[in-house]
């Protein structure tokens, strides 16, 4: 790249991150209800709690995508040694 501009996250990684946003934020009017209760919880509380567990799955996918691209793009560095001189 001609400039040292920051590498942008890839589109597919961004789309994976969009899934939790749709599920927990934009779709609120679809799941903000008491019934049906699941595991004793009102539906909205159950829905959000489930997505606390599902969000890391989406982000793990994004992580795989990002790290794969990163290792393809640049030669692996000597790793961590430069930190030792702090």
């Amino acid at each position: 790249m001609p400039t040292g501009e920051k590498r942008k996250p890839s589109l597919s990684a961004l789309l994976l991150g969009l899934i939790p946003f749709v599920a927990m934020c934009f779709s609120v009017s679809l799941w903000d209800r008491v019934f049906p209760m699941v595991l004793g919880l009102p539906f909205n509380l159950f829905w959000l709690t489930s997505w606390i567990l599902l969000t890391p799955l989406c982000m793990w996918g994004a992580y795989r995508l990002e790290t794969r691209q990163e290792s393809a793009r640049r030669v692996p560095r000597s790793g961590g040694i430069e930190d030792a001189n702090q």
Binding site: T3, M24, S29, G40, L41, L53
Partner: protein
């Protein structure tokens, strides 16, 4: 021993043990400015995790979340939404931020603005805004600490006295230790709070209702509208939820302390992995909500919802258990309060005072001024804590309204070549001005939308517009980043 003295004794023992651990962690290291403020930039996954988890288990989520579940109902759910999503946002900006920070030896958020936009004045403005909006967050912790001591002592220690004691203890703690100490005490407070959340969230519903399902069935019968939005409020509906979750999830890492904490990581990859797993850390928050909902049925009519969790604990558990939970809660207030105070003091001394008034000041003198500012910041937060009766959640909502105004300057600074200093200046000024008008004029929410979010939209529009109207300028980052990757 009476019930309240048992509870108080246990609580003090826990706080003392936590403080001792913190002093020990800070004792062996030379405390220059870099070490005090960013821990020497050598934290691995574990310590970063602990520092960043600070947000999840503070007085805000412990007493504030249950308080809103009790007094507001459905709208409190925004807390569950925004925390997970904030980590999603962090995945896309923190690793990049970390690289820039390392290349330019940045310590604070204002350093970022100063270097990227080549402007000391902009950085000084960012520092002052950061300090101003950290104050309600510190106030929140002091108020929470006051509530804990008041309930644990069954009212024997008055709220005012308790709040003053809290402020003094926190200030003393910040003087002697630094960010590393705070991270280590976080270990103790998080383990205790996790235990407390599980115990409260499960025991309370079973004790009074024979189960979580029957409890919610009872609430749905007695207060049919309470469990969904807008709950017990008139104007916190779905538009408010969406705008608040967006604002807060974009804002979590705009807090000067969180921004700075990401610089303490060993690598950008540590931050990325952290972003993947962090949402799991919030999994006990629903249990804390259960306590607030239970209190609605068990002890209705509390004037201050923020008391609901402790009041239901006091009614359900033996005094020693109230002491343990109170101690955990006290640490959950003290650790974040000390981090916030440290951040505010450093920002003021380094990025405001030195930048503008005393460019030749040595690092050693800056460190001294920062320590003086610790006392001043505590005093201001204490003053507000004693003279305000806002709910804990509202205090944090105001904080987010303010700090999220940094978001356009940060994210565009990283990803948009065309953004200019004048654009960021005017956008941020417009955002803060819009916010002031809306909050002081009591127009929050405005047309059902969170006022901070409305201000953020103004901010974004102005940054983009003014940047395009002003001539393109060189970023302070690119060149030196280039050289650092060649080295």
């Amino acid at each position: 021993m009476s019930a309240s003295s048992t509870a108080l004794t246990v609580m003090c023992l826990i706080v003392a043990a936590g403080a001792a651990l913190g002093f020990y962690a800070g004792a062996h290291r030379k405390m220059d400015l870099e070490q005090w403020a960013v821990g020497g930039r050598g934290f691995g996954t574990l310590l970063i995790w602990l520092l960043m988890a600070g947000e999840v288990y503070t007085t805000f989520s412990f007493l504030g979340a249950s308080g809103w579940a009790y007094s507001r109902g459905g709208p409190a759910l925004y807390i569950l939404g925004y925390l997970s999503l904030a980590y999603v946002v962090s995945f896309y900006i923190l690793p990049q931020l970390w690289e820039v920070a390392r290349a330019h030896k940045l310590q604070t958020q204002s350093d970022f603005f100063e270097t990227r936009y080549r402007s000391k004045n902009l950085a000084a403005f960012v520092s002052i805004i950061g300090v101003v909006f950290l104050i309600p967050y510190i106030q929140l912790q002091l108020t929470g600490l006051g509530i804990i001591v008041e309930v644990a002592s069954s009212g024997a220690v008055a709220r005012t006295a308790a709040t003053v004691i809290a402020a003094v203890v926190v200030a003393a703690f910040v003087f002697t230790s630094g960010v590393r100490a705070a991270a280590w005490i976080s270990v103790v407070k998080d383990i205790l709070l996790l235990g407390a959340a599980v115990a409260i969230g499960i025991v309370v519903p079973y004790h009074y209702f024979h189960g979580i399902g029957p409890m919610f069935a009872a609430i749905a019968r007695a207060h049919p509208a309470h469990l969904t939005m807008p709950g017990a409020t008139k104007n916190l509906g779905h538009a408010w939820y969406i705008s608040t979750v967006l604002l807060n999830s974009l804002g979590l890492y705009m807090w000067p302390h969180n921004f700075g904490a990401s610089f303490t990581a060993k690598s950008g990859d540590v931050l990325r992995r952290n972003a993947v797993v962090m949402p799991l850390y919030t999994i006990t928050l629903p249990l804390i909500f259960l306590a607030g909902f239970a209190a609605l049925m068990v002890i209705p009519g509390l004037k201050n919802g923020d008391l609901s969790l402790l009041a239901v604990v006091q009614r359900t558990f033996p005094p020693w258990a109230l002491g343990v939970i109170g101690g955990a809660g006290a640490l959950a207030a003290m650790v974040p309060a000390s981090i916030f105070t440290l951040t505010a003091a450093t920002l003021f001394a380094k990025n405001f005072y030195r930048s503008i008034f005393a460019p030749t000041m040595s690092d050693a003198r800056v460190a001294i001024l920062a320590r003086v500012m610790v006392g001043f910041v505590m005093a201001v937060a204490l003053y507000f804590a004693m003279h305000s009766s806002t709910t804990l959640v509202n205090l944090l909502l105001w904080g987010y309204d303010g700090v999220t105004q940094f978001f356009p300057g940060v994210v565009l600074g990283l990803y948009w070549k065309r953004v200019t200093r004048a654009g960021v200046w005017s956008g941020m000024a417009a955002g803060i001005a819009a916010l002031a008008v809306l909050l002081l004029g009591k127009h929050d929410p405005i047309f059902g939308v969170n006022a901070g979010f409305a201000a953020l939209c103004v901010n974004f529009a102005v940054v983009a517009g003014v940047s395009l109207l002003t001539p393109a300028e060189r970023s302070g980052f690119h060149e030196s980043l280039q050289t650092s990757t060649e080295a």
